[in-house]
Amino acid sequence: MHLNSILRRLPIAIAALFVLTATACGGSSSGASGPVDVRLGYFANITHATALVGVANGTYGQELGSLGKLKTSTFNAGPAAVEALLSGAIDMSYVGPNPAVNAYVQSHGSAVRIISGATSGGASLVVKKSINSAADLKGKKLATPQLGGTQDVALRYWLGVNGLTTDSSGGGDVSILPQDNAQTLTTFQAGAIDGAWVPEPWATRLVQEGGGRVLVDERSLWPSGEFVSTVLLVRKDFLDAHPAQVKAILRAQVKTNRYLADHPTESQTAANAQILAITGKALKPATIAASWANLKFTNDPIASSLRSDVSHAQKEGLLKSTDIKNLFDLSLLNAVLKDAAEPAVKAT
């Protein structure tokens, strides 16, 4: 029968197709030796000042040297950066802890590793002057940078603790509208939203340019005011294949974080120059200075606060699993820190 003969040949055709696909895709892997470009993602936020200043001063490029070239991409928020990372468009990115954990959990622990912290603090809930407490927020509209991002989860959790409900499509007691940070500032100025939980410099800009007030400085919610707001996330296959390049990036970061602490004025100028280069618009020096005071640069990924972030996200239904057993790989960082005579960090 005609159909039978087709069915009989089908497996052969399928097998042929796969052999073709496999050979077509096989040639792309490259060896560990030789120069390898490192594609690094980061945001034009002050919470990413390590990357801003390190890239502006050429520290990352210098440390990579003959190991390869640095190529950078910038994002508005973590979920977009993680999408780029998982799909292989970039190799590593500075992101907030929640998108980092999400990438880890979605890939069942196979795709990514956190290899360092970068920043602690630097996120606040800024609201209209007429709002004085959590209770005043009922029926109001608040913005976050992106659904599932670190500030988005922080806001939902904080509202939940204060007895206010939210949902992922903007319903509940408080309507949460994830949107671009620049749009958040203009809509706040126009009165279309009542506040936003955003990272620096946007929190400071909402206060200085939008006439808002800080209702919650996120530092006040954490023991000793320390919580991780930026980590360095790398694709695991890149980490396995190119440890020398990853180590060079970590050297550049440790160096830059030291520079940020030792030379705040120069660092602020460099960060602003880089923000100008990315967004086409520089910040006011007063904005940078005020933002700077709200955060701290550290190589420690502050694992204890990250674990809390994870349980908050799960409580809000934004994360399926809390198993983050192999999320951290800090061995390269600790080797770099040892060479730089700085104290080691821990994954617990």
Binding site: T21, P79, S110, A111, G148, S169, G170
Partner: protein
């Protein structure tokens, strides 16, 4: 037909589509096993089934399906009314037709997604923006279907009807409309495809607060890098598409039955 024959007939009809689905699933699983993409980018069919099960168990999912289908029906109904009015007036008034004919065709070929930035500007991120674009996408096809339907009614048919005394509304209702039906139906079917596409494009771009939809869910799955849920939602969209196509297929059959091209349907 005895029950055994009937069962055999059903099996014979079901075999090609079921076979096609099985082949797709096998190919998909094979690509997954080849590891061209890691499983978190291209999940295996079983993971997607799990995600689909998770969706089907959540009440939010039905709300989203309800809102998406509701928007489609509203937009499509509005497009039908507007498209029919435009189509009929253009078919009847030659001046109107010369004035607007090419514009309608141009509108029909225009990708309706292109309207969204402007629609969002005028209507903000609201139901209105989505509705306007769905109507803009679908109405021209309906109008064009009606125009070519009326154009293609055989002269002999209208002449014969006139000789037999048919005039005015009666002529339109009993002679021209049934004769134009195949074209009208083709226009309606194409309009549905345009409406459905515009709607999904709109739902990805325009996420209205407090109104979950399939498009918004797809966008959320993207924000969480959740590939299984993404594919599960694609399956849901596909199923809705197939169901609607079945509906149109049935209407098509009725029209052909009237013309004696197939046996009368039950």
């Amino acid at each position: 037909m005895n029950p055994a024959d009937r069962a055999r007939a059903i099996a014979r009809n079901a075999f090609p589509p079921v076979g096609a689905v099985i082949i797709v699933l096998v190919l998909w699983q094979a690509v997954v096993l080849l590891n061209v993409w890691p499983p978190y980018l291209l999940p295996p069919p079983l993971d997607v089934l799990g995600a689909l099960g998770e969706q089907v168990r959540s009440p939010d999912f039905y709300k989203a399906v309800g809102i998406t289908v509701g928007r489609a029906i509203t937009g499509y109904a509005l497009a039908t009314v507007i498209g029919t009015a435009i189509g009929v007036s253009m078919a009847v008034v030659p001046l109107l037709r010369r004035a607007l004919g090419s514009l309608i065709t141009a509108l029909q070929t225009m990708p309706s997604v292109a309207w969204f930035p402007f629609a969002i500007l005028l209507f903000r991120l609201s139901e209105g923006a989505i509705l306007v674009v769905v109507v803009l996408g679908a109405a021209p096809s309906i109008a064009n279907g009606i125009i070519s339907g009326i154009d293609n009614v055989p002269r002999q048919l209208t002449s014969a009807a006139r000789i037999l005394g048919a005039r005015g509304p009666f002529l339109y209702r009993r002679v021209i409309l049934p004769a134009a039906m195949p074209y009208v139906l083709a226009g309606l079917k194409q309009a549905w495809a345009f409406a459905w596409r515009s709607l999904l494009a709109g739902e990805l771009l325009v996420i209205v607060a407090g109104r979950p939809s399939l498009g918004a869910k797809l966008q959320f799955a993207r924000d969480f890098s959740d590939a299984p849920t993404m594919i599960a939602l694609l399956v849901v969209l596909l199923v809705i598409g197939i169901l609607v196509d079945r509906g149109f297929g049935f209407a098509d059959l009725r029209v052909r039955a009237r013309r004696g091209l197939v046996r009368e349907v039950a």
